[in-house]
Every structure is written in C-alpha cells, then in structure tokens.
Symmetry: D3
Subunit: 237 residues, 6 copies
C-alpha cells in the first residue's frame, strides 16, 4: 500500500494556476499534491555568446528551493556561495527538456529564461518544474506572438514530466517524498504531447532493475504524462 | 499627486495570509499592494557558537528575491555565487528589528530563522519583510508555547515597519516602486506595537533634508505602523 | 557509415592497464579508442558525517579533465574556482554507479574515493570512467581483503557502462566524439555483470525518440557491456 | 560618567593630517581619539557601465580594517575570500554620504574612489571614514581644478559624520568602543556644512527609544558636526 | 647515505616520452625516478590583454597534481574552489623559467600555455615540470615552424631545472621525497643549455646556510642540468 | 647612473618607528625610501591543527597592499574575493624567513601572526616587510618574556632582507620601483644577523645571469643587511 493510499497508477492531484507574477512574461504555480513550484518565463533580447549572430534563439532554466520548502530547513544557496551539484543537474535537465519542443529558428535571436522555484517540496520537484515550466514558456511565447515580435509559433509540442519508481516491490507512478526516500528504483520521464520520449533517467537505488521493470515504469509514465498534458491544456483554455 | 492616486498618509492595501508552508513552524504571505513577500520561521535546536551554553536564544533573518520578482529579471544570487551588499544589509536589518521584541532568556537556547523571500516586488520589500516576518515568528513561538517547549512568551511586543519619503516635494507614506525611484528622501521606520522606535533610517537621495521634514515623516510612519499592527492582529485572530 | 568505419554494434578497442600509480590502493588506465582515463581508488579510514558510527562504508567519485585532453584546450577548473555543472553531474553518476555493486556493511566504516581523470577525450569519458573506476575499486578492495582489514568481499558484482546513440538515423554503440556531436539521441547505460540495469540515461538532442528506439539502444548496450566486463576480467586475471 | 571622563557633548580630540600617500590624488589620516583611519581618493578616467556616455561622474567608497586594528586580531577579508556584510554596509554608506555633496555634472565623466582603511579602531570608524573621506575627496577635486581638468567645483558643501548613543541612560556624543559595546541605542548622523541631514541611522540595541531621545541625539550631533567641519577647514587651510 | 643508495651527485633515472596527447601541439611524459609529470603545450591565437596589438607573444604555465599522486590523497583543487598558494607559486615559476628562453618577437602575437600535471609525485615536481615543459614547448614551436606560421625559431636555448639540498649534512643532487622532507636546505636551480642562471631559489629549512654551501649546490646543479639537457636532446632526436 | 642618484652599494634611507598600533603586541612602521610598510605582530594562544599538542609554537605572516599604495590604484583583494598569486607567494616567503630565527620549542604552543600592510609602495615591499616584521615579532616576544609567559628567548638571531639587481648592466643594491621595472636580473636575499643565508631568490628578467654576477649581488646584499640589522637594533635601543 502507498502511504497516500493512492493506486499504483494514480497521479497526485494537479493544479496549475497562471498569471502569478505581474512582471514575468509568463508565470504559473503548479501544485502536484504537496509539491508546489512557482514557474516564470522571462524574455531577454540577447542570447548567449555562442549564438550571437546565428539567428537562433535559446531557452534556459534555473532552479531553486526556498529554505523552508523542506522538512528540515535547507541552507540558502546564495548564502552558501554556490549552487549544489543537485541543483545544477536539475536545472540542466529542465533546460534540455524545454528546448526539445522549441523551434529555435522561429523563436529568433532572443532568450527565454524559465525560473522554477520550489515553494514547498514533497517529492518530484524536477518533474513539476518541467510541466509547470512549459506552461510559463507557452504563456511567454503567446505574448511574443500577440505583439507580433515573432510570427511562427516556435513551440512544436507540449512537454511534461513525471517520476515513477519501484516502491515496496511494486512499480508506482508519481512518487511523493515518503515513497521517494524508500524506493528501490527511481526514474524520471520527460515526454511530448504526442508521446515521444525526450528524456529517460532511471537509477537503481539498491538492487539493479530489469528491462521488464523499466517497461512497466514507462507504461505508467505514459499514462501520467497524458493527464499532465491535459492539465496544461486545461489551465491555458 | 501620487502615481497610485493615494493620499499622502495612505498605506497600500495590506493582507497577511498565514499557514502557507506546511514544513515551517510559522509562515505567511504578506501583500502590501503589489509587493508580495513569503515569510517563514524555522526553529532549530542550536544557537550560533558565541551563544553556546549561555542559555540565550537567537533570532536571525535571511532575505532573497526571486529572479522574476522585478521589472527586468534580476540575477539569481545563488548563481552569482554571493549575496549582494544590498541583500546582506536588508537581512541584517530584519534580524535586528525582530530581535528587538524578543526576550532571549525566555526563548531559551534555540534559534529561529526567519526567511523572507520576495515573490513580487513593487517597493518597500524590507518593510514588508519585517511586518510579515514578525507574524511568522509569532506563529513559530506559539507552536513552542503550545508544545510546552517554552513556558513564558518571549515576544514582548509587536514589531512592524513602513517606508516614507519626500515625493514631488510632499512627504508621503509607504512608497511604491514608481515613487521610490523618484523620491528625494527615503526613510524606513521600524516601531513596536506600543510606538517605541526600533530603527530609523533616512537617506537624502538628492538635496539634504531638514529636521522638520524628518519629524513629518515620523508622524506619517506612526500612523502607518498602527494600521500594520492592526493587520498583524487581524490575521492572527 | 560511422566516421570510424565501425559497424553499429562495434565497441572501440578497449585496453585496461593496471598498477599505474604506486601510491593508490588501486589504479588503472582505461583506453576506449582515443578516450584515455586514469582511474585510482584511495582508501581513507573515515566516512562522511552522515555515516559516522553507522558501521557502513562509503564509495564516492571525483572526475576531472586535463586542460589539453580536448580538441581545443579547456579551462582548468581549479583556476576557474569551481567545478562545472557537467563535471558535478558526471562525478555524481560515477559514484552512484559504483555504489550499486557495493555491500556497504561488508566494506565497514571506511571510504574509498575513486578519482577519474581524463587524460585524452574522444567521447564517452563518463562511461570509460565507470568501467575503469570499477577496476580501481576492485583492486583497492582486494588489497583490503589481502591485509585482512575486511573479511567478506563487499563487491557483489561487476559494473560497467557504455554509451549508445542514434547517428545518421541508425542506432550505434559506443559513440566517439565525431558521432556524439552529431547524434540525434544520446544515451548512457550502466549495467552489472549479470545484466541488471543500474542507470539508464537517454536524451533526445533533436527529435524525440520512441520506445522501439530505446529498446534497440538497450540491446546494443547489453552486447557492449558484456565485452567491457570481459575486458575487466581480462586485466585482473 | 563616561569611561573617558568626557562630558556628554564632548567629541574626542580630532586631528586630520593631509598628504599621507604620494600616489593618491588626495589623502589624509584622520584621528578621532584612538580611532585612526587612512583616507585616500584616487581618480580614474572611467565610470561604471550604467553611466557610460551620460556625462555624469561617480564617487564611490571602499572600506577595510587592518587585522591588528582591533582588540583581538580580526581575520583579513582578502584571506577569507569576501567582504563581510558589515564592511559592505559601511562602504555603501560612505559612498552615499559623499555623493550627497557632489554635483555629478560638474565632476564630468570620471570616477573618484575613496578608500578608507582603519589602521586602529576604537569605535566610530564609519563616521571617521566619512569625515576624513570628504577631505581626501576635496583634495583630489582641488587637483583636478588646478590642472584645469574640471572648471566648476563639483563639491557643493562639506559632509561630516558623528555617532551618538544612549550610554548608561544618558545621551552622549561620539561613542568610543567602551561606550559603543554597552550603549542602549546607537545612532549615526551624516550632515552637510550647512546643517542639512544626509543620513540618519538609529538602532535600539535593547529597549526601543522615544522621539524625544532621538531629538536629543540630533541636538548632540549638530554640535559635533560643527566641530568636525571646523577640523576639515582647519587641515585644508 | 642517501635512502635511494645514490651518490651525492647522482640524478634519478630520467626518461622523456613525447607525443602523449593527440590534441596538444606538443606533449611529453617526463619521469624522474618516481616523479611523473605530463606536460602539454597548447597554442592559442590570442594573447593576454596587456599584450594586445604589441606584436609580442606570451608563454604561460599551469600546474596541477592529481589527487592520488601523493602518499596520502591530496584534495582536488577544483573541488576546494581555488588553487593553493603553493600551486600558484610553482606555476608562476614554470612560466617565468620557460619565458627566459623565448624570443617573444619571433613567437608573434600568440600564446602557448604549458600545462604540467603531476601524475605521481616523489619530490622535485616543479623541476621536472620545467624540464618536461620545455620539451612540450619545443614540440609546439616546431609545429608552428613546420606549418610556416612562424619563420624564425623563437626558442633561443634549452631550459631545465633541478633541485639540490643538504641532506644529513651533505650537499646532494635531485632530492626525492624521502630526502626533501628531511633536508636542512632546499634549493631549485633553473639554467639554460649554455649554463646561464635563470632562477636560483634556496631556502634554509632549519639552520642558515653559508655561501660555500650555496656554491657547492650550484656545482651539483650544473652537472645535473647538463644531463637533463642531454635527455631533452635525446627524446627529440 | 641610478634614477635616485644613489651609488650602487647605497641603501635608501631607512627608518623604523615602533609602537604604532596600541592593540598589537608588537608593531612598527618601516620606511625604506618611499616604501612604507606597517608591520604588526599579534599573539594567539592556539596553533594550527598540525601542531596541536606538539608543544611547538608557530610564526606566520600575512601581506597586503592598500589600494592607493601604488602609482595607479590596485584592486582591493577583499573585493576581488581572493589573494593574488603574488600576494600568497610574498606572505609565504615572509613567514618562512621569520621562522628561520625562531626556536619553536622556546616559543611554546602559541602562534604569532605578523601582518605586513604596505601603505605606500616604491619597490622592495617584501624585503621591507621581512625587516620590519622581525622588529614587530621581537617586540611581541619581548612582551611575552616580560609577563613571564615564556622564559627563554625564542629569537635566536636577527633576520633582515634586501633586494639587489642588475640595472643598466650594473649590479646595484636596494632597487626602487623605477629600477625594479627595468632591471635585467632581480634578486632578494634574506640573511641573519650573523650573516647566514636564509633565503636566496634570483630571477633573470631577460638574459640569464652568471655565477660571478650572483656573487656580486650577494656581496652587495651582505653590506645592505648589515645596515638594516643596525637599523633594527637602533629602533629597539
């Protein structure tokens, strides 16, 4: 039995509230159960040096966690003087995931930075950041389309993410913190609205896992992603 | 005329919503017009080295601003690798202000860290942090009193803060960003519920100011603080 | 056609030379084609703070690249003042992968640090680091068994890693730099000697990939890992 | 009774010696009792990026303390790898205070950096830095006027600073270290030669203070500033 | 008696193996007994800012030590976040030494960076770095001459280095770690192929040394340098 | 002819003024021509970790330069966030030099930190720091002898330092900045009061130097050191 009483293929309740921050081109608060992430997308008229003059745009992401977001207060990274390896790994993943649905020619030579700040954490913060980050990106791109700054929609599909894992020997969808800290295998899947795989990351925490188990996890993820994409569509409707 | 249409002695609308973060001992979101600050108070069983074995408690504060909180995206300090001088100055002020109402013997040898994270900024973020931070601190202390971890209430009074300034030659209360960036003199006042002064900080931005002007600013601040203390009481009732 | 003329399921020539560094408990130079990594394992009698007194051991990894290892000189991280996000991500992966085959009770309260320093890079450095790092770890553990410092072998299986990708539309094994920089999908697989999955990481670089493609990549990886485990056995015989 | 035997409204003996450093455009050693600060002003032909092309000049300040300046040796900040929050707060204050008397159009597009290095500390180092820093700035500006690099004097008035506080229940002027570490309220005042207020900073260290007490502190400060401005004039005569 | 059984004027066996790294313009592995240093020379088309437009070239050096190179694992400097004072002192010495034989006009406006990475340490790593670094530099310059990028050979002589010291009261050549850690006086000499002195660094570790002792150490060094220059010539033949 | 009109064997005028800083156990301002260094010695009751429980004392040094000490303002290292390689090299040299005259058993398990801060620079700052640093150390040790904290004088001799160089083809003593920036060879010598060599550092800036030239430089240094030791004795008398 899952600590939350959910069935193996159940997502936590998902809500996505848009228009949270007046200064950001796009913003939303995504809540996956008790995991709450504020996602914003800011447009800047410049690109990183390696793209200068290329005509191509760039989408990048940054990730942070408020000190009180976790069970015991976590140290503020600005105070520590650096981002942890975990933070850097997560923000690299979010950036890669979001770029997978972007036509960088259509975006034109500008950068959109998607900031994902975890307000409250209960497992699955990187996946919620991707799913919510896509909504913020969508809203920012809509603003550019509306003003005529860009003509062709550079977002070619939805992108969403969900975690799966083997908890108590049973493959389950969308782990919360209680499950995540006990899971034997932990995996994150990023997929497009049409079901293509963008990123697959599976780690054995104890015993190795088999190809059959990997396949079951992907089955679960496909179901979860469908619901998350529906939630993205719902909040934008 | 003020850009917002307010009268000189008008505060912006204030709301304080408590119980925002489930992991923090105390938390609230304070909204002073378009300035929104999430304040949390976390209790730790240890004190800084200079207080070890003294029997005295400690209250400290940290301040941060989300990258998208401002008009143009501000650089994430964790990325930059250090907190700016402005950030350090503000968090030192918040900590001093909150300690002014704490009986550190009654608190006992424990530390409460108040984190103030600006979600959206429109002027007056340090003052909103103090006013909201006091509420988070109050809630954390209430939790300690309820569990019996402490017996005597260590909070001897309310503490709240408000800014004033000379805008267009007229002394006004509670500057928003549009006023703050144009104000001739800018001052922050921290006071207790009984009206005692905890901190006075006034700066001439252009021409020096007179003692008469300083006195008018304090008059305005006293009125504002009374309303803010009422809002603190209201949200806790 | 692959730039190197290899067939899709061909590994690059692999050699593993042991006993490279006289001070390290275990060491080897692994050469996968033109990718050369020096792997060492150092034993220390202490563990990280979170394991103190637990009786459990720890295995961790660090990764570095000599400035002249790449086509154009890369900046020395010690000079830059920090490890890049990429470096941290890789060394976290190596550590996780190696710990997957370690019985930490049998290891006892000591730490083994596996350093993987890339002498020359031509793609696949993180996979070579894991495969070579396991050999260094094996040698260090053998030393501990020989002196009687530990009684039960804490290494429960081999661990090796290989990359796969979709190059020119064709799934291929063990990408070199020329392929890696052009590949549509890039994946790394870490497996045990008995074929269990330890880590799966697949990223779409352009178009998303399908479950069928993922399955083909795993098939290729299984063949490659078998050869790499044979090479590990060969160098230790 | 004050530890030094001074009356409440007595400054410590002040001397300002000019022409200390041959390389600096302006320099002085200010001694306020046992607080000794070396102040220099260096002229550079460039301004910060945000002023480039504006025609406006800039005055900024940096503050430091030699390790042996204090009772027990304080750690060298260059060794620690960063300036403390206190140091940054002080140098921001000095810069703001000095800019209050500068006509930045008349200064023209150049920067003057005022360095204030505390050689020996006995309380009131930030105030001594402002008073001495103004003399160094005055001398550097005089050099620019003499060479004809600027035509109109950009210094519109004197600026000086003094601390006051409530010591043993009595408001006193110009606290030394023995008083400062015991004072109930601690305030710093920056004023112009004509008596305008440039900066007011008052902090309750224990109990809050009243408006009457604040007024008494300002009365004391006005007397002190008059003497300090006279000392500035004296050393330049 | 020396721990290694060598006579006072004996070098350790020296071998220099070239062509170690395919990406570097010049590279070698120098082995002085158990001290092994990988030296590479990388050519870049730009010079440091202070030489821009001067027509002059630049040669600089960086030094590092693999964590497992020493008896007990030394902390990775990239992890520590900075290069130690010792590292910086050594790489400044290597750079100065190599520049002593370079005609910077003939080199033209380009930079050659010589990286010296200690793979295994047994005393004398800075001297081995200079001797091996010169070979890498020679090979990189040969490449530039061969392609016609430069016309006149900018290397005007050989440069090599050796340590000497007073061990057990006896002046000896080329200290290994066992001697170095016990030596009363420790000196490093850098000389040209024609015997000119480039750098002399002698330190008393306990009692001061006399001019006679210094002269004996130079005599020993001259002999050692002659052999090292012969080894340089041998590996290039 | 030397720019200052001095003869080759002439030192610049030297003065050493003691008792500069009231908080330091020992302090002096040494002036070698226009090079002015403030040297202080602070006693701390603890030693570095590697000496804990050994009964041995430690003497260490730190070096800094005020921003306005040089011709053009140099960047404050505390602001830059790290000490330069040059600074670290110099403070390591000062520490080694001073330890050469210390009986660390007699000193007992305590640390003396000698801070050398350059107030004004005109060449030879490291040598002036050593010569002045020894005086500060002497005064701090005298204080310990006077209070009876130590019984046997741990300073076994004087230590002083001077630079020499080949300027315009002529070996000269005690280079000032104008000479130093043009000198062909630059050397620093640290010697004891009895004439023993503690440290010899000679660098060819252009052409190599010969053993004869080195000997002439040592002759000059011996004369200079005798005068500096006399100045040390004079200021302490």
């Amino acid at each position: 039995m899952r600590p939350s009483g959910r069935n193996p293929a159940d997502l936590r309740p998902v809500t996505i509230e848009t228009g949270i921050i007046k200064h950001a081109a796009g913003s939303c608060m995504i809540r996956c159960g008790d995991t709450h992430v504020l996602c914003t997308a800011s447009i800047e008229p410049r690109v990183p040096p390696f793209l200068k003059g290329s005509g191509l745009g760039w989408v990048t992401a940054e990730y942070g966690m408020l000190p009180a977001a976790t069970n015991t207060r976590n140290r503020r990274e600005a105070q520590a003087g650096k981002q942890s390896g975990r933070t850097q790994e997560i923000q690299r993943l979010i950036g890669r995931a979001l770029r997978a649905c972007v036509d960088r020619v259509a975006l034109g030579e500008r950068q959109i930075t998607v900031d994902c700040d975890v307000i409250q954490a209960d497992g699955g913060t990187r996946c919620a950041s991707i799913t919510g980050g896509w909504v913020a990106l969508r809203l920012a791109v809509d603003a550019l389309l509306k003003t005529g700054d860009i003509r062709t929609d550079p977002l070619v599909d939805h992108v969403a993410a969900v975690s799966c894992g083997i908890y108590g020997g049973v493959p389950v969808l969308d782990l919360d913190y209680a499950e995540d800290s006990e899971a034997g295998t932990d995996a994150n899947f990023v997929m497009t609205g049409r079901g293509g795989l963008v990123e697959v990351q599976g780690s054995a925490e104890g015993a190795p896992f088999s190809r059959d188990e990997l396949n079951t996890l992907i089955d679960l993820a496909e179901g979860g992603i469908r619901e998350l994409v529906a939630a993205q569509k719902g909040c934008l409707a």
